[in-house]
């Protein structure tokens, strides 16, 4: 085959050309072909030879020349266009391309081209190396890495993402839904990932989600997944990098810390004691729920000054005390405690004790930490105890007064009795005609003094019962006349011969009273009326009913009571200054006061010195039937 001009053109080609006839004899080779195969012969010399012979001659050029021969035979058997790259021992690569030329459906010519692709291949190798290098790195990174196209199809997955190579390869070009179908698993996870992927694509921002993956051992694995969009130079999303980091450990630690925090927080909030932290200006940093409850607040707002604005319902004195204590603690870096009273909107009073101390920590710096406790019950108990102690003291004083009264008021009658007995003894030891009469006077003395002493003792006993709170109120229905008759016994007549002037209004019949108790009261007033009006007009008792009150008015015309002493009269053992020469214990009016108060009544008195005294006892009608 003489190609003439074409031959010259073919020789300029950088790739080698080999043309065979239908008997596989070489018809033509160009220069480049001969160069690649290192043939020194001219083209004409090779005509009629077989290509595989050339390979055999120069087999040393090829890494495995048999491969080239086998390839040659196979291609001829098939007679189909084909290309393949071969490596040569000199480090070069060539691409062999085969094209059959048909005429009337019979192959007439076999055209082979051999292109030196060494440069391309080297580049490819470099690129493959780099590719492998990065792939290796990506595979080694302890994070799931996947690269998606805009349709959320996998372009790449690292080994951490999917360990199984087969699955990994399968996933390329597929998406999570395909994977779920492939593995026959629920698509929930795929839906969740798709939603987040779409958000990342729409917002063009990285989206994070936490994936909980149940593992074979039943434990959950938590992966913090990110969809990170990557943009091209026009700002359009090119790919989306998905990467997930196993945060199971972190989450577990976080969970432990959070649980601990929760537990401590619950503990502090469940405490009945208030716990708070304020800065050195008194500004609240933190507090528990009890603080809010104890201080009667709906909530604590920051930044409010703890001891100024928030301590409502606290006296200024207590506020000043608290402020002083806080200042002391912050100045001296020490501690203080105290208590204060707080009143809520319903006027309920609470007693709170506080304990505050200085604290210095890296997180909060210098602060004051404090506790607040409700000590209302203890306070009440203390008050009760103190009251009892003072009651005890009072009783001791009363006892001491009782001893003095007994001493004075009983020793005098005893002296009279003793002297009277001695006188009687003397009289009867020297009888005379007047002996009987004289002796009788002293016997009467004795009887009077014994009665007087008995009376004193009775009164003392009633007062003691009253003071001890043992005197009981026992009311019942009694007719007014029976009650007054009972009282009148001692005053009809009184020992000096005067009679009590009594008047009872007709409209009174049955009354609901404690007759024993009220008798003591009224009798005492009547006795006083007689006692302090010796040689004066007889005292009066008027019983009336007016304005739903049952009134007993006891009026005498005696010595009266000094005006400035009236208020002291109802104190136990008190005696008016002008009454000292009259026998008495100073306990009668205590009985009156108690008896009237037991009936929910009142005692009023009017008095003028040397003119007389008028007592008015009023008992509400509610007790009168």
């Amino acid at each position: 085959m003489n190609l003439g001009l074409l031959d010259k053109i073919y020789d300029t080609f950088s790739f080698g050309v080999l043309i065979e006839n239908n008997n596989r004899e070489i018809l033509y080779t160009n220069k480049s072909f001969r160069n690649i195969f290192e043939l020194v012969n001219e083209g004409e010399d090779l005509k009629g030879l077989y290509f595989y012979k050339l390979v055999e001659i120069n087999s040393k050029l090829f890494i495995k020349s048999e491969n080239l021969k086998t390839d040659y035979i196979k291609i001829h058997e098939k007679g189909i266009a084909n290309e393949k790259i071969f490596e040569m021992l000199n480090g070069k690569y060539f691409k062999r391309k085969y094209t059959p030329i048909y005429d009337n459906q019979i192959i007439q010519l076999h055209v082979w081209t051999f292109e030196d692709v060494t440069n391309n291949i080297e580049k490819q190798i470099d690129s493959d190396f780099q590719n492998n290098f990065y792939t290796k790195i990506l595979d080694e990174i302890p994070a799931d890495i996947a690269i998606f196209n805009k349709k959320h199809q996998y372009l790449y997955l690292n080994k951490t993402a999917v360990a199984d190579e087969k699955t990994r390869k399968w996933l390329i070009g597929n998406n999570d839904f395909d994977y779920c179908m492939y593995k026959n698993i629920n698509t929930n996870k795929a839906i969740e990932r798709r939603l987040n992927f779409n958000i990342a694509v729409e917002t063009k921002k990285t989206v994070q989600l936490i994936d909980e993956i149940e593992q074979k051992d039943g434990q959950s694995k938590f992966v913090l997944r990110n969809f990170h969009p990557v943009f091209d130079s026009n700002g359009n999303i090119e790919i989306v990098i998905g990467y997930g980091i196993d945060i199971t450990k972190n989450l577990r630690n976080e969970l432990i810390i959070s649980n601990q925090k929760e537990r401590i927080s619950t503990l502090i909030n469940e405490l009945k004691e208030g716990v708070f932290q304020v800065d050195l200006n008194g500004e609240i940093i933190s507090y528990n729920q009890s603080i809010v409850n104890l201080l009667n607040l709906n909530h604590l707002e920051k930044p409010e000054y703890f001891y100024f604005k928030l301590l409502q319902g606290i006296s200024n004195l207590d506020k000043a005390k608290i402020l002083t204590d806080f200042k002391f603690v912050s100045k001296n870096k020490s501690n203080k405690n105290g208590f204060f009273e707080i009143t809520n909107e319903r006027n309920e009073v609470k007693y709170l004790s506080y304990n505050v101390w200085f604290s210095s920590t890296i997180i909060d710096g210098e602060t004051i930490i404090g506790t607040l406790s409700d000590i209302t019950i203890q306070h009440e108990q203390n008050k009760y105890l103190l009251k009892n102690i003072s009651k005890e003291k009072e009783l001791n004083l009363l006892k001491s007064k009782f001893v003095n009264i007994s001493s004075h008021e009983l020793r005098t009658p005893l002296s009279i009795i003793l002297s009277s007995v001695e006188i009687i003894d003397l009289i009867i030891s020297k009888p005379s005609k007047d002996s009987f009469t004289n002796a009788k006077i002293f016997v009467k003395n004795i009887v009077n003094e014994v009665l007087h002493m008995t009376n004193i003792l009775n009164e003392l006993m009633i007062v003691e019962q009253i003071e001890l709170g043992k005197q009981k109120f026992k009311p019942y229905l009694i007719h007014i006349n029976d009650f007054i008759e009972n009282i009148n016994v001692g005053f009809h007549p009184y020992k000096d011969g005067r009679y009590l002037k009594t008047k009872i209004n007709d409209d009174i019949s049955n009354i609901f009273i404690d007759p024993e108790l009220l008798k003591h009261g009224i009798t005492n007033l009547l006795s006083n009326a007689f006692k302090y009006s010796i040689e004066k007009k007889e005292p009066e008792l008027l019983v009336t009913m007016k304005n739903n009150q049952l009134n007993f008015r006891i009026k005498d015309f005696g010595i009266g009571i000094p005006e400035n002493e009236i208020n002291n009269l109802f104190q136990t053992f008190y005696r008016a200054s002008n009454a000292e020469q009259y026998t008495g214990t100073g306990i009668g009016l205590v009985v009156v006061d108690y008896a009237v108060k037991a009936h929910k009544g009142t005692v009023k008195l009017k008095s003028k010195l040397n003119i007389g005294t008028q007592f008015e006892v009023s008992i509400p009608l509610i007790n009168v039937q």
């Binding site: 003095n404 001493s407 004075h408 008021e409 009983l410 020793r411 005098t412 009658p413 005893l414 002296s415 009279i416 009795i417 003793l418 002297s419 009277s420 001695e422 006188i423 003397l426 002293f442 003395n445 009077n448 003094e449 000292e580 020469q581 026998t583």
Partner: protein
């Protein structure tokens, strides 16, 4: 008992029932006695009359026995009159106080007339000896 006693007793006592029996007792024993019911009255009487012995209650309507004793001890004319407290107040502190102030004795109520009379006599005899 002596038939006639030539000494004069002042009794300062506010309780009329008691002075009444004391009067009878002194009468029976032939003792001359004057009775005063309060401090003011007693001082008046002391100024007017000369007493050999004074028997005085402590609780009085206008003053108390200690004050009377104090007044008497501070007056040249009266400081040597034997003074006997005669009281229903029987506590040891008051007795000590009374004696410390110069009282010749302290008689607590109730008393036996024999005790009272013996004390009067012994005090007066002692006084005479001095």
């Amino acid at each position: 008992m002596t038939k006639t006693n030539n000494f004069l007793v002042l009794v300062i006592e506010d309780d009329l029932r008691l002075t009444s029996v004391l009067k009878t007792l002194f009468e029976i024993h032939d003792i001359q006695a004057v009775f005063a019911m309060n401090g003011e009255k007693s001082l008046e009487i002391i100024n007017e009359m000369k007493f050999d012995i004074i028997i005085c209650d402590i609780v009085l309507p206008d003053t108390d026995g200690f004050k009377i004793l104090n007044l008497l001890k501070n007056k040249e004319e009266t400081k040597n009159i034997p003074f006997v407290f005669f009281s229903a107040i029987a506590n040891p502190n008051d007795i000590k106080r009374g004696l410390a102030m110069g009282a010749a004795d302290y008689i607590t109520k109730p008393f036996l007339s024999e005790t009272l009379l013996n004390k009067i006599h012994s005090i007066l005899n002692l006084n005479i000896k001095i």
